[in-house]
């Protein structure tokens, strides 16, 4: 009988693979993020000159992408497996392809395309060059060599590999909808998340309170600034991430006009830049201390 690649097995297999590559196995962040890049294990750790190899699961929340559980591929929440290797190994592309084979995707029987994608996160002041990786036409990974983060040029170039786990599993299981993906041998992804999708689509698009969200944005922004002023990077950055999610929520509600949008993005970016500069300053100070 053909071995079943369950969703949970895919997660375990990927973690094992990257553990063997020398990655520290980390865990998800504890606040809403649009992507694993927002996790301090990526955003802050890529800034300094120290070696950093890490792999973790992240729960990505994108309020605008909800479709009330009616689209087979789009939903407001999905699982990512995030890998950061700093510095990026020379054969990283091949290592990545081997990771797909490790999951059971035989390259001889599929098409893997690296489609040019100049990745940018305006809210994080981060950008890099790389690709979306398409597996038989389905985007399953974002592959990026970061060049800048928090408005700072990176001294050591890290590679970021972000897998879309539901989609990869879908291809492995040969099903047409993420809702049909088998999570384990008994239950499907749809069984676990369908109601969540429907309710969050309603919340994100229809009932999330715009005034409250706007007010919260201001509160968290103020708090982040206060914390940065006190020299506290991590707590300040946590508040920055909250602002980012609130902005995504406001956008899903259609409450932000084109020109306001740019302003909101600028405000989050200003916080992210502060976090980056403060982090670097502190890591320099620490380096000096240990040198003594």
């Amino acid at each position: 009988m053909k071995k079943l690649h369950t969703f949970e097995n895919v997660i375990i297999n990927l973690k094992q693979f990257w553990q063997k590559q020398g990655c520290l196995l980390f865990e998800p962040y504890n606040s809403e993020v649009g992507a694993g890049t927002f996790n301090p294990a990526t955003f802050l750790r890529i800034l300094d000159k120290n070696l950093w190899n890490v792999c973790y699961l992240e729960i990505s929340k994108r309020p605008r992408d909800g479709r009330y559980a009616k689209n087979p591929l789009r939903f407001q929440q999905f699982y990512q497996c995030q890998v950061i290797m700093k510095p990026a190994p020379n054969d990283i592309q091949q290592i990545y392809l081997e990771s797909l084979e490790h999951l059971g995707i035989k390259l001889r029987e599929h098409e893997i395309r690296f489609v040019e994608d100049d990745w940018e996160s305006p809210t994080l002041g981060a950008w890099g060059l790389g690709w979306e990786v398409w597996l038989d036409g389905l985007e399953v990974t974002q592959f990026t060599y970061f060049q800048q983060a928090g408005g700072v040029d990176l001294q050591i170039i890290p590679v970021e590999i972000t897998y879309g786990l539901e989609r990869i599993t879908m291809v492995l299981q040969g099903v047409q909808s993420v809702f049909d993906v088998k999570w384990n041998n008994a239950l499907t992804w749809g069984y676990v998340y369908r109601q969540n999708e429907i309710e969050y689509s309603r919340y994100n698009f229809e009932t999330a309170p715009v005034d409250t969200l706007s007010a919260l944005f201001v509160t968290y922004e103020k708090e982040a600034n206060r914390l940065f002023d006190e020299g506290l990077v991590y707590p300040g950055y946590d508040n920055t991430v909250k602002c980012s999610h609130l902005f995504n929520m406001l956008e899903a509600r259609g409450a932000i006009s084109i020109s306001e949008r740019a302003k909101y993005i600028g405000r989050v970016r200003a916080l992210a830049n502060k976090a980056a500069k403060l982090y670097l300053k502190k890591s320099d100070e620490q380096a000096n201390v240990s040198d003594d």
Binding site: R67, K70, N71, P72, L73, R74, P87, A88, N90, D91, Q93, Q94, L97, E98, L107, R108, E109, H110, E111, I112, R113, F114, V115, E116, D118, G128, L129, W131, L135, D136, G137, L138, Y145, Q147, I156, I157, M170, V171, G174, Q176, G254, S257, I258, S259, E260
Partner: protein, 683 residues
């Protein structure tokens, strides 16, 4: 004879500048070989998404030997009476390391001289290539680059290997941390093992076995043949452009095709939506009017079934999304979206999208006199044209490019008249240089109004273009306005339109700024139409805001500029300009003071010509205007020959300057001839 292979291997290169980069690499290698006088039989450009290079066959091992001649002393000092070498000659030979059989004598203009003639053996091709190739790679230019390792060399994507093989020997050099060698890499779908090359001639075949067609021309042929074969079974024809095929060529190493279908129910979607969804998926080519498409992939043939299922799954999701937006939008209707534009800021300080639409509605009043215009439809289109920005479809990133087009569809499905829908659908055109123009007059007029609003809005909101900075891309808008006014032969005064727009805004801009902006756009446009810059400058000196008129004047100048008469006329006008350089106030000719014959003749001629000239300019008969002005030349020349303008008598001098000035004004009614550059003249 030896062969040379250079292959730079990298991770997938951006397709839109791969061809240019690969050609530049070939050109530089070719130039090097020619400059260094290294013979070769053939040279071939290679590129795929993961490599670029050149394959040079039949190279000589060394540079062609060079003959150098070193001039020495005159022959008569080189030899004594007995024909023996003098000290002068031996000294010359010693200094230049010449043997006696390398001494020749040559007859020159100054007499017979001794020369040293040396044959210098050329450097080896190997050394030249090894020394030059790294700098050739670093000379390549790209629009966007990155760094990836501690060498911090910039390239569009990481370089992972370099093959530099001269016959059986790899050239030893390092670039970006990569040591050049004899190992190439196959298509990753085929193998992860490097391909060892003994010599360059194995390259094409070995790579073919590794799933890589390295020759782009061969690949392109395969792609086209496969697409045609795949579409044969279908009822429709595949739609593609050469650019699309080129892009496919830049994203495939080993082209295979598969046909796919999507659900018939999506055929209700507008054609533009279908094409946007399909195009967003790269190498997908729609078979017109069917629910079928061809996809070109770059893997093993064995992958075909998985690729087909995969693509159908993705298309289903994307089309499902588009269909969802489309149906919701039709349910909502443009009228309701229009109401929502009241809450959407257009530009900081310039109000909402709704206010913009109202301005456009006022603005189009200026077009009431344009022949063939249906004002009722145009005004309806103006108020509705921005509503689709609130539609779910256009708000989605993937479909933003369909702004206007979707508005047109929603207008039609909402029961608006065709003229209204067409004008909305076309009012963004042309969106970029070289884009298509609207087909309908309504579309063109609405586009003009919208773009004038963009320009004026930019100037009012602190977004003026300056230098390389043009935050709202209004130079393009200004250019498009000129293009449309000309293409639709709309005789409207541009400055009038600008003023109308400013009035609607109830705001002011310093005099002359906007007319100057449009004059610059017009100059650019006329240059693109093939007129010379000096002709344009001459005409724009007398420009009244009418685009078609400026073009006609340029045309007249262009057709006359070859004649000898014309050249003399221009030279005369330059003289006039110099004489008048320091004259500030306008002067009146006092006929009492006109004494000399040539003076009288010129004044008389001017008086005679003026009414005719005015009439001809009114009827825009510019060739006749030029003929008339040319008729004046003999009288002008005679005047300058016989009459001293800058005479000592102040009264006489000022009167003569007044004569010159009035004649000059006649010329200026048509153009400023002194701007024309005459062949051989320094400017």
């Amino acid at each position: 004879m030896i062969d040379f292979l250079l292959e730079i291997g990298f991770e997938e290169f951006p397709p839109n500048f791969l061809v240019r980069a690969a050609k530049s690499l070939t050109d530089q290698i070719e130039t090097l070989l020619k400059q260094k006088k290294i013979f070769y039989r053939s040279l071939r450009t290679i590129y795929t998404p993961r490599r670029m290079g050149v394959l040079v066959l039949g190279l000589s091992r060394r540079q062609k030997p060079q003959v150098v001649e070193i001039p020495g002393p005159p022959k008569r000092f080189a030899y004594d009476a007995k024909g023996k070498a003098t000290e002068k000659l031996t000294g010359f030979m010693k200094a230049n390391n010449l043997k006696s059989n390398e001494i020749i004598s040559k007859r020159t203009k100054k007499g017979d001289y001794v020369y040293g003639r040396k044959e210098i053996t050329g450097a080896s091709t190997e050394n030249i290539l090894r020394d030059s190739v790294p700098s050739i790679i670093s000379n390549l230019e790209f629009p966007r680059t990155m760094v990836w390792n501690d060498k911090r060399v910039r390239f569009p994507r990481p370089i992972r290997w370099i093959v530099a093989l001269l016959d059986r020997k790899p050239l030893r050099f390092e670039y970006a941390g990569v040591q050049a060698n004899r190992y190439s890499w196959p298509n990753q779908h085929f193998s992860f093992k490097p391909i060892r090359l003994e010599k360059p001639r194995e390259y094409m075949n070995f790579l073919r076995h590794g799933g890589v067609i390295v020759d782009p021309n061969e690949r392109k042929k395969i792609i086209l043949t496969r697409i045609r074969q795949a579409a044969v079974k279908s009822t429709g024809k595949p739609i593609y452009t050469n650019d699309m095929i080129e892009e496919i060529n830049c994203t495939t190493e080993y082209p295979e095709v598969v046909t796919g279908n999507f659900d018939q129910r999506y055929m209700v979607l507008p054609k533009e939506v279908l094409m946007t969804v399909l195009r967003a998926h790269g190498n997908v080519i729609w078979i017109r009017d069917t629910n079928e498409y061809v996809y070109v992939f770059s893997a093993k043939k064995k992958a075909l079934q998985n690729v087909k299922i995969g693509y159908e799954r993705v298309m289903e999701s994307r089309l499902n999304d588009a269909h969802f937006f489309y149906q919701n939008d039709i349910k909502t209707g443009l009228q309701k979206m229009l109401a929502q534009t009241k809450g959407m800021t257009w530009l900081e300080g310039l109000g909402t999208l709704y206010e913009k639409a109202v301005r456009l509605q006022n603005m189009v009043e200026a077009f009431a006199s344009v022949s063939g215009v249906d004002m009722e439809e145009l005004k309806r289109a103006a108020i509705l044209c921005k509503a689709d920005l609130l539609s779910e479809m256009v708000r989605e990133k993937e479909f933003t490019s369909l702004q206007g087009i979707m508005g047109g569809h929603y207008a039609r499905s909402g029961g608006e008249r065709d003229g209204v829908a067409d004008a909305i659908g076309e009012h963004y055109l042309p969106r970029f240089v070289g884009d298509r123009l609207p087909k309908t007059l309504g579309g063109a007029l609405l586009s003009i109004a919208d773009k004038i609003d963009n320009v004026v809005g930019a100037f009012l909101s602190g977004n003026r273009p300056s230098g390389s900075n043009d935050p709202l891309a209004v130079r393009r808008s200004g250019y498009a306005v000129i293009q449309l006014v000309d293409a639709f032969d709309i005789h409207l005064d541009l400055s009038g339109m600008i003023n109308a727009m400013l009035k609607i805004y109830r705001r002011k801009i310093e005099d002359g700024v906007l007319p100057e902006f449009f004059a610059e756009r017009l100059a650019r446009y006329l240059q693109d139409k093939g007129y010379r810059y000096d002709e344009i400058k001459a005409v724009l000196a007398s420009w009244n805001g009418d685009v078609a008129d400026a073009k006609k004047r340029c045309e007249a100048l262009k057709s006359f500029r070859g004649s000898a008469e014309f050249v003399k006329l221009v030279i005369g006008q330059k003289r006039v300009r110099n004489i008048l350089k320091n004259v500030k106030a306008a002067m009146v000719v006092d006929t009492e003071l006109v004494a000399e014959t040539a003076e009288k003749a010129l004044v008389k001629m001017g008086g005679k010509i003026r009414p005719n000239l005015d009439a001809m300019i009114r009827s825009k008969d510019y060739p006749e205007v030029l003929k008339l002005l040319l008729e004046m030349r003999p009288a002008i020349d005679k005047f300058f020959d016989d009459v001293l303008v800058m005479c000592d008598d102040k009264k006489l001098r000022e009167n003569r300057l007044a004569i010159v000035s009035t004649i000059n004004d006649l010329f200026l009614k048509f153009a400023d001839f002194s701007q024309i550059v005459i062949e051989g003249e320094r400017t």
